[in-house]
Amino acid sequence: MVQYTFYFLSLIAIISAFLVVFSKSPVHSVLYLVTCFFAIAGHFLLLNAQFLAVVHIIVYGGAIMVLFLFVVMMLNLNKESDNQKSSYIKLAAIVASGILLLTIVASIKSFEIGDQMVNPLKGQGSVQSIGKELFSTFLLPFEISSILLFAAIVGTVMLAKKELD
């Protein structure tokens, strides 16, 4: 049962990732991207990481999707992209990413622990254990990331303002 869920979610993730790259209109790309994110959130649930699954849906399915859709619709990009890259560059891109895939897959072959099963601890991905980790071991990075978010807010406002004087 879990295996079939894994295959189903993987299939959805890979197909929608392909459709992100190959669909003509950017709005469709955003929607396929959200489908892919939901499939990955399902994988997180399958890996017993409930907190991350919920945060993933909130951050990616909520915030980032809205941001992308807002920009796509504001810039009125929902027309088919007029001229594509030349076919040589397309071929080079496909070959390059294929070689990357091949290299990593070939290196997995020599990976010793790969045949073992994933086996999460009970309650490993719960809010309690993540919070305990976050506020003890990773307290300083956690606080610094709040500064980073603040810097991002200020930078975005400064960039998006029409006139700087």
Binding site: V20, C36, H56, V59, I64, L75, I108, I113, V118, Q124
Partner: protein, 106 residues
């Protein structure tokens, strides 16, 4: 549910995230629309997130999941700033086609 999770080998997760990462690389190299390039970068970040969670479940250590949390923070900040830059580029050039953004080309 917990007993049945052990049916999935670690290799499958590595393979899945490798495929997703390669699709992201393909999109960055193939497309000319800067917004779609951003989406493909998000795809790559998510592939790495999935790999981190899988290894965290494998090694039974919560630290990996905390890392995923930080990656999500960085991704959110990156998308906000990047899209603001794109809006400004569009305001100046009236296009987000990366072939037309060559003012810095030597």
């Amino acid at each position: 549910m917990l007993d049945s999770i052990q049916q999935i080998p670690l290799n499958y997760y590595i393979l899945l995230s490798t495929v997703l990462f390669s699709i992201g690389v393909l999109g960055v190299l193939l497309r000319r629309n800067a917004i779609i390039i951003f989406m493909c970068i998000e795809l790559m970040l998510n592939a790495v997130n999935l790999l981190l969670v899988a290894f965290s479940a494998y090694s039974q250590n919560s630290a990996g999941q905390t890392f995923v949390f930080f990656v999500m923070i960085i991704a959110a900040a990156e998308v906000a700033v990047g899209l603001a830059i794109l809006v400004m580029v569009y305001r100046n050039v009236h296009s987000v086609d990366i072939e037309k953004l060559q003012n810095l080309k030597w």
